[in-house]
Amino acid sequence: MIALVLRRLGWTIAVAWFAVTATFAMVAAIPADPVRAIAPHASPEAVQRMRAYYCLDRGVIAQYGCFVGHVARGELGDSIRQKRAVTAVIADHVWPTIELAVAAVLLQLAIAVPLGVIAAVRRGRWPDRAVNACWLVAQSAPPFFVGTLVLYVLAYRFGWFPLAGYGAGVLDRLHHLVLPAATLATAGVAYYARAVRTEMIDALGEDYVRTARAKGLTEARVIWRHGLRNALGPLIAVAGLNLGLLLGGAVVVEYIFAWPGIGRELLLAILDQDGPVIIGIVLVAALAIALANLAADVVQLAIDPRLRE
């Protein structure tokens, strides 16, 4: 099993490196001048000097060499727009994104698991159809629409939540977190609920469930202890895959709610063609997604001996 994990870890690094190199190639392919964009009035000589400083005055291969050199030294270069180390930019903004993602996943599970179970148990009847309809709406609603709508109705018109920002102190932070986390969770809820429903339907048809019923256990005990427990395994794999979706959504949600995370930093860096920051954040995101999938695999291996062969 250890050999298997190590092999997967090697793949994880290869995947992250591929993602970063592809991003580097895309950034390099765009004919842009980030230095001129941040210093529109500087003299041509000053611009040349700044380009040399950021390694932008050389060919693509040499620029890639610069980048690899940075990574070998454990750094990611300097942000052109923010004029400081990319590692510092990421360190400042990664925590808000983790908070947001964790809150969104918890919300998704809290909503999706009961809904999926209800839909499975009442399969084909109105609760199932109602849940199905809700999924369709939730999955089709883009975060920029949901975000703007809840912002206007719940924050501006009703004033229940703050309109923007990160908050200070635990309670204030949680208060600020509700709307962005709920918006980010919306699309994924359908995803999880569908997975729970499918797995539950399978599980409820299994022999051990029939045995449990035959033993005379209450229906609630049969569903929650015997059915759901077995349905949760595959959900872990779904959670690993879902992280990519979540980080993609975070870009938009963080922008709308002025949440100071790396998703918004990525968007701003793309707008400014701030290559080092784009590449640094993609690297972190790619590593996070690859590691999350690895962790999901390991957990599944640990709980399901059949997969180890």
């Binding site: 842009a32 001129r36 529109p40 009035h41 500087a42 003299s43 000053a46 400081r84 206007y152 701003l268």
Partner: protein, 513 residues
């Protein structure tokens, strides 16, 4: 849920100021002013900061030798008590105000100014070196005298010394400021809190306890927060919000619209056909209906006859913008050999406002037979294309001035010296020896009247030569809560709240309407 949301969204809502001024007649101290910005702070390092939002904060944290008088572009002494110009016009001697100190109370010395100037000149990543390119010598005499020698006389030089990068930097603690406020905390990308600096030399004019600025709040959210009273000022207003608020009588006294130091238009590369023919450039100027532009900007703009905005000394206010005259445009095009017009690509930066204006330009020029194909690029790509001699010959351009002097507008944009194949600021590649000579002699002219007359001549030549399609000067729009007092929008410093005071009730609370 959707139905409830739709009902709420469509139901009428009462909107207007919710608070009023308490009625205090003299400025009272205390309170925190809160505002938000669409973008984030890039850096608080004065020798590197070159964007608008960082500028708001750095300007509150730092003071300079000279500055601008309230509400005007007139220079006045700040950290300097006075300055003298040598007979040959090349050496400026600044004498420091006695007793000036940093935010920790330690004294500011003349050598600290030499320190920041040297840093700007020598750092590889400072964009300010070019402003000091013609400085040949910086001499410190004791603690209170700083002499700066230039290669050539330059009457506009004191304006450079009003730019924040010239603020004193103490070598051992460069983060220490000397402005009306001191940095209390900065949560990057989120908020910055500034606290009144008790050691500030002009503390008598500072009334607020603190200023709190939220970063990266989208413009429409900012306006909603302002209406709910979570912010004390909102600017710049998005077009729909501005259109709404100008129609509300209750908000009128609190709405500020003012000229700022900018010019917008389109560059026409005079080296490239068809723009090498002056008649073509004039034809396009006649073809554009600037009233469309103003309407699309919700009225927050004035039509331009050249690059100098209203309020800059030397601007000829009697000069008129090109009138909208499609007949004349067609005649000029025919005379230049384009009776059927021509096809041309038009480069704009990717933003919603530029798109709207490009659509209007496309329509107006189409009326005289010029078929415009709009190309949109992200800002950094657009900037690269604009600065390159091989870039599109027709493109949107703008100039946001570094200081309110004609030299800053004209020299960079129309002097042949500013041409470069890569990274040009003379976007039209315009070469006119007469303009060069006039600009050079204006540089050294010490008499204000003579200087203004030279610049007026340049303005007239450029208006007729039309290296740009002159379009508009954008006005800044801003709304403040009724209890914010003493706010006079400044033509140079945008969102400068350092001297306002809050007219609150006796308990320090806002008084409801």
């Amino acid at each position: 849920v959707a139905l409830v949301a739709a009902l709420v969204a469509c139901s009428p809502v009462e909107r207007g100021p919710r608070w009023r001024a308490a009625g205090g007649s003299s400025p009272r101290d205390g309170g925190t002013l809160r505002f938000a910005t669409k973008d984030g702070i890039v850096t608080l390092d004065p020798t590197r900061e070159y964007d608008e939002v960082s500028g708001y904060v750095v300007h509150a944290l730092r003071d300079t030798l000279v500055g601008y008088a309230a509400g005007s572009t007139r220079l006045e002494p700040r950290l300097a008590e006075r300055w003298e110009i040598s007979g040959d016009g090349r050496t400026y001697t600044f004498v420091l105000r006695p007793g000036i100190a940093y935010a920790d109370g330690t004294p500011i010395r003349a050598v600290d100014f030499a320190n920041s100037l040297t840093k700007a000149r020598t750092s590889a990543d400072s964009p300010f070196g070019s402003f000091l390119a013609h400085v040949t010598d910086i001499t410190v005499r004791g603690d209170r005298e700083l002499a700066i020698t230039l290669a050539l006389p330059d009457t506009s030089f004191p304006n450079v010394m009003a730019m924040t990068f010239t603020t004193p930097l103490r070598a051992d603690r460069p983060e220490l400021g000397c402005g009306p406020f001191a940095l209390e905390r900065w949560d990057r990308g989120e908020r910055v809190v500034l606290r009144r600096n008790p050691h500030y030399w002009d503390a008598a004019h500072v009334h607020l306890d603190a200023i709190e600025m939220l970063e990266n709040v989208p413009r429409d959210t900012q306006f909603l927060m302002f209406e709910r009273g979570e912010l004390d000022a909102a600017a710049p207003l998005a077009a729909p919000d501005y259109q709404w608020i100008v129609a509300q009588p209750a908000w009128q006294p609190y709405l500020h619209t003012r000229a700022t130091m900018n010019a917008f238009g389109s560059r026409m590369n005079v080296r490239v056909k068809p723009f090498s023919d002056r008649r073509v450039r004039q034809a396009l100027n006649y073809a554009l209906d600037k009233q469309h532009t103003i309407k699309l900007l919700s009225g927050a703009a004035v039509p331009a006859h050249g690059i100098l905005p209203p309020g800059v000394a030397g601007r000829d206010d009697a000069l008129l913008p090109y009138r909208h005259d499609p007949e004349r445009a067609r005649a000029l095009l025919a005379a230049a050999g384009y009776p059927d017009g021509f096809d041309v690509d038009y480069l704009i930066p990717a933003d919603e406002e530029a798109e709207r204006l490009a659509g209007s330009l496309q329509h107006d020029l189409g009326e005289v037979g010029v078929r415009v194909h709009v190309q949109e690029q992200a800002l950094a790509s657009y900037a690269a294309a604009l600065g390159s001699a091989d870039g599109p010959s027709f493109a949107k351009v703008g100039w946001l001035a570094d200081y309110p002097d004609p030299a800053n507008f004209f020299d960079a944009s129309f002097h042949s010296r500013s041409i470069a194949n890569d990274g040009t600021t003379n976007y039209s590649f315009y070469v006119n020896p007469e303009v060069d000579a006039l600009l050079d002699s204006a540089h050294g002219a010490s008499d204000e009247g003579t200087r203004a007359e030279l610049y007026r001549r340049v303005e007239r030549i450029l208006r007729d030569d039309a290296p740009w399609l002159w379009d508009y000067h954008q006005l800044a729009t801003e709304v403040i809560q009724p209890y914010v007092q003493g706010y006079a929008p400044h033509p140079v410093w945008v969102r400068d709240y350092t001297q306002v005071w809050l007219d609150l009730g006796a308990n320090g609370e806002r008084v409801p309407r």
